[in-house]
């Protein structure tokens, strides 16, 4: 019982404290790739601290929904950190609803953030909300099919079991259909976390932004919470990608040494993924908004192929 609680706390700590670093690393890498020195990877922590110290300005147009949303966002992300196998294969809330719960927890966050965007009453907020929910809705089928493909191969939909099964039988992961599911999931991750080529996390250029448009009215501690939550979203999605498709190092034992090894393995996997993300973001341009559905349709086709492959080649 105590061990479970401690590990749950550890997972939340790793996700909560590691998320800003992940964002910082991607930013630094992108700056280096573009030939700039860029900020230190620790910069996001300084930003959060600065924002927490500032007095927020809240629009008179808004209601309690606007003020509650940052807390809801953080809460959903903290709960996902208890569901996703970050350090251990069977996290504390692993029994509470599996991958489908995870999908709907992300949707819970999007739902409230989109409402907050509308609540400010500015043209930007509504525009951002409408685009965000459009992309989230179109990404939904791909997520579930990609994970379904994995689950079919591992013969379970329990995240912990998928991780353990794939770790035991690496040949399952060497299947070409597995690769299709990975690519599909990677594209969806880009869309769901607002990265290039779907959304540009670095811009405040009015007509192209999606996520930034929604959170435009936030300031002070509310903005800090929103930024922290979106960093955690990136962290959780990348961890999911890393641990579901390359499940090595995720431990089933609640002992200090395997946990430490698991943490190191996770850091290594995330570093590789972050580098891949940085390279991708420096080499591709942002897509026009109405070309994004084509990208998502492509990723859906990949996921469907991956699932079909399981039916046809058992």
């Amino acid at each position: 019982m105590i061990a479970t609680l401690l590990i749950a706390l550890g997972q939340v700590l790793v996700a909560g404290a590691g998320a800003p670093l992940l964002v910082g690393v991607v930013r630094t890498l992108k700056a280096r790739l573009a030939g700039r020195r860029g900020p230190s990877p620790w910069q996001p922590y300084a930003d959060l601290r600065k924002l927490l110290g500032k007095e927020p300005v809240v629009s008179t147009t808004t209601s309690w929904v606007f003020r509650a949303t940052p807390y809801v966002l953080v809460a959903t992300m903290l709960v996902t950190a208890l569901v996703v196998p970050i350090l251990v294969a069977r996290p504390a809330l692993g029994f509470a609803g599996n991958i489908i719960l995870l999908m709907y927890l992300f949707m819970l966050g999007t739902f409230f953030l989109a409402l907050a965007g509308l609540d400010s009453g500015s043209a930007f907020g509504g525009m951002g909300s409408s685009r965000e929910v459009a992309i989230a809705a179109l990404a939904e089928p791909t997520i579930i099919l990609a994970v379904f493909a994995l689950a079919l191969r591992a013969e379970t939909i329990n995240l912990g079991d998928v991780v353990e099964r794939l770790a035991r039988e690496p040949l399952l992961a060497a299947n070409p259909a597995h690769l299709l599911a990975f690519v599909a999931f990677f594209i969806v991750m880009l869309a769901e976390t607002g990265r290039l080529p779907v959304d540009n996390p670095a811009t405040h250029l009015e007509l192209t932004m999606i996520h930034e448009a929604m959170v435009l009215e936030y300031s002070g501690r509310y903005l800090a919470l929103v930024e922290w939550a979106s960093a955690m979203r990136l962290f959780v999605f990348m961890t999911l990608l890393a641990n579901l498709f390359f499940p090595w190092g995720v431990t089933s034992l609640a002992e200090p040494v395997p946990l430490l090894l698991g943490l190191l393995a996770l850091a290594g996997k995330l570093a590789v993924l972050a580098a891949a993300l940085a390279v991708l973001e420096t080499t591709v341009a942002k897509l026009r908004l109405f070309r994004v559905p084509e990208l998502l349709a492509g990723s859906f086709a990949l996921a469907l192929l991956s699932v079909t492959a399981v039916f046809l080649v058992p």
Binding site: T61, A96, M107, L118
Partner: protein, 636 residues
């Protein structure tokens, strides 16, 4: 007068609720009154499935009737039709022979027809009632044909006799009866493409009636499908299940697509009912496929998921319609473009509507999430049927359900956000008032039920599995687990909404406490929204309902076929000054254009041709009758 009718309906609802709870708990009885109904007499039988649908009728009729009694409307219109409507809906699931069933079914349709015709002076209202009457009677014709054929082939009009005789019938005969019955019931359930009456009729009725029509009446179509496909006709071939699963997938995706672009609040909710019936049918179809393949546990799981969603949709859709009714009552319009900012003037209604929106968007830990989770879990185990084509159908169902839930989330962000948030877009919205106490109480009660059905999943699922088992005769263990965790299919997947709720609650409190301990800035300043340096913010700067749905209109343009109409009036003096701009971007219905319009045109041209033999002279008609008589005698 109207209040008396509402109270009578509430009493009927209470009786139905008690009887229904008894039925689900296992009490069963049969009442036969031979002299009351011709051709077999009145025969009512309570079994678990009938009990569940009685709970549905009673559970929605009760709050809806209190809401009606508490609303300020004093017109006597519908004072009789409303209790008749509720009573006939109670009789439908109990009916045990064809005549009882058909009479109750037709009473339900007629009573609701009069309720839809709420404003007989309005053209739109008359048209809605007319389309409804035509579609519901076309459905009744299919049902009667199917039931009479079944009666002719089995020699009895009692459902219990069908049950016994169905396995002896040929596959072709059972197929014909299934298609006829399914068409009739699917029409009532609003399955696409038989849905055209639903978005017209539901918004036209008063809101408490809309709640009953969307929450309960269309579910009786689902009840009929369950009875026909699993009980009366016995287990059918795979194509029955495939047909229902695909119809459900198509209905859910297309229903929510239409809901997304509609700016009439009640019409949006009506379209979303089509979507939810689709989700239910996905579960029903999967259950029939598993049942046919002999996988009893999975069949029960899929059917329990469908029944759970039936229950859930009844609660949150009734809640949303009652909320929409309060909004329409306060603002005098159903057009969302004239609303906004209502959360400040109607905090109770807004909070209840938010709970309903979150529940229908399947957000954890509310009830919509539980039933969609169960449906997903049931669909995802399809590899136990080793037929690649069927597996592919299931995969399409999974993808369709995922797309539906994403789009539904977007749809209810729009429904709540545009209606209740930001600044009022019209004078009526700015002067809106909160609903009277009885209406608020009805909404709060339904919101509490939504939360309870979500958190109480571990109690509800075993009960629903029992109901499904009584229907199909399967006896496999499905749900395992304790009060905290629900495990299905022998631990294949587990769910604990209570744990989610507790974790979310703790995670909500954590940053609040942490920020306070860390000594973060606590005050806040109020200032107007940043308006790019303009003088002040006006409602005209807000995102409109049309603009919110625009990305969807573009992405699914091949389906919506939107038209763009731009009408600019220039100043007579100089073309550089624009006096007014009118912009409309309506979508078209491909079902009207490609299905109903050609069918109606063909009907009209046949009718036109038939005029040739209609001279109007009595002698000629007598000659026709004589000729027909001779022909019949010759044939006999």
């Amino acid at each position: 007068m109207a209040a008396a009718g509402a109270l009578a309906a509430a009493a009927i609802g209470l009786v139905a609720l008690v009887l229904g709870l008894g039925g689900v708990a296992g009490s069963a009885w049969t009442v036969v009154v031979d002299w009351l109904v011709p051709l077999g007499g009145l025969e009512l039988t309570l079994d678990p499935l009938a009990g569940l649908f009685l709970i549905l009728v009673g559970g929605v009729a009760l709050p809806a009737s209190f809401y009606a009694a508490g609303s300020a409307e004093r017109s006597a219109r519908g004072a009789l039709a409303y209790p008749v409507f509720v009573a006939s809906m109670c009789v439908v699931p109990l009916a045990a022979n064809t005549m009882t069933f058909v009479i109750a079914w037709e009473l339900m349709s007629l009573a609701s027809y009069f309720l839809v015709l709420h404003e007989p002076e309005e053209r739109a209202s008359v048209r809605a009632a007319w389309v409804y009457a035509v579609m519901t009677h076309a459905g009744l014709a299919c049902l009667l044909a199917g039931m009479l054929l079944m009666g002719a082939w089995t020699g009895s009009l009692r459902f219990a006799d069908w049950r016994a005789a169905a396995p002896g019938l040929g596959a072709g005969a059972r197929g014909v009866v299934f298609v006829l019955l399914a068409a009739g019931f699917a029409g009532k359930a609003g399955v696409i493409p038989l849905h055209v009456w639903l978005p017209l009729a539901h918004p036209a009725a008063p809101s408490h009636v809309s709640a009953l029509m969307s929450g309960v009446m269309i579910k009786l179509g689902v009840y009929g499908l369950l009875r026909a496909g699993l009980d009366w006709l016995g287990a059918g071939p795979a194509w029955w299940g495939v047909a229902l699963l695909l119809a459900g997938t198509v209905s859910s995706v297309i229903g929510v697509l239409y809901a997304l672009v509609d700016n009439d609040l009640k019409k949006l909710l009506a379209f979303s009912s089509i979507e939810n019936v689709g989700i239910i049918l996905i579960g029903v179809g999967a259950g029939m496929l598993y049942h046919g393949a002999g996988l009893e546990g999975l069949a029960l799981l899929a059917l329990a998921a469908a029944l759970y969603h039936t229950l859930n949709h009844a609660t949150f859709k009734a809640l949303l319609f009652l909320g929409a009714g309060a909004v329409v009552h306060a603002t005098g319009t159903r057009n969302m473009e004239a609303m906004g900012g209502l959360i400040k003037r109607m905090p109770w209604t807004a909070a209840c509507f938010l709970v309903g929106s979150a529940a229908i968007a399947a957000l954890p830990p509310l009830n919509g999430f539980v039933s969609e989770w169960l449906t997903f879990v049931a669909l995802l185990q399809n590899t136990r049927i080793a037929q690649p084509m069927l597996n592919l159908v299931f995969a399409l169902g999974v993808a369709g359900l995922a797309l539906t839930s994403g789009l539904a989330m977007a749809c209810f962000v729009k429904a709540f956000g545009i209606t209740f948030l930001a600044l009022p877009r019209g004078d009526a919205a700015a002067r809106a008032h909160e609903a009277p106490p009885a209406m608020r109480a009805a909404m709060v009660a339904l919101a509490v039920v939504c939360v309870a059905l979500g958190l109480g999943a571990t109690l509800v699922v075993p009960a629903l599995v029992t109901v499904a088992g009584a229907l199909t005769g399967d006896r496999a263990p499905v749900a395992v687990g304790d009060w905290l965790t629900l495990g299905v299919s022998g631990g294949f997947a587990t769910l604990s909404t209570l744990a989610i709720a507790v974790a979310l609650g703790a995670a909500l409190a954590l940053p609040l406490i942490a920020l306070r301990l860390a000594g973060a800035a606590r005050g806040q300043r109020r200032y107007e929204t940043w308006g790019c340096g303009r003088m002040l913010q006006t409602p005209r700067m807000e995102c409109t309902a049309t603009a919110f749905a625009d990305p969807f209109r573009r992405v699914f343009g091949f389906f919506y076929r939107p038209e763009k109409r731009l009408d600019i009036t220039f100043h007579p003096g100089a073309r550089y000054f624009v006096q007014r701009i009118e912009y409309a971007n309506p979508t078209r219905s491909i079902f009207d254009d490609w299905l109903y319009r050609p069918a109606l045109d063909a009907l009209r041209s046949v009718a036109h041709r038939a005029r040739a033999i209609q001279s109007g002279s009595a002698n000629v008609y007598l000659a026709y009758i004589f000729a027909a008589l001779l022909l019949l005698l010759a044939l006999a």
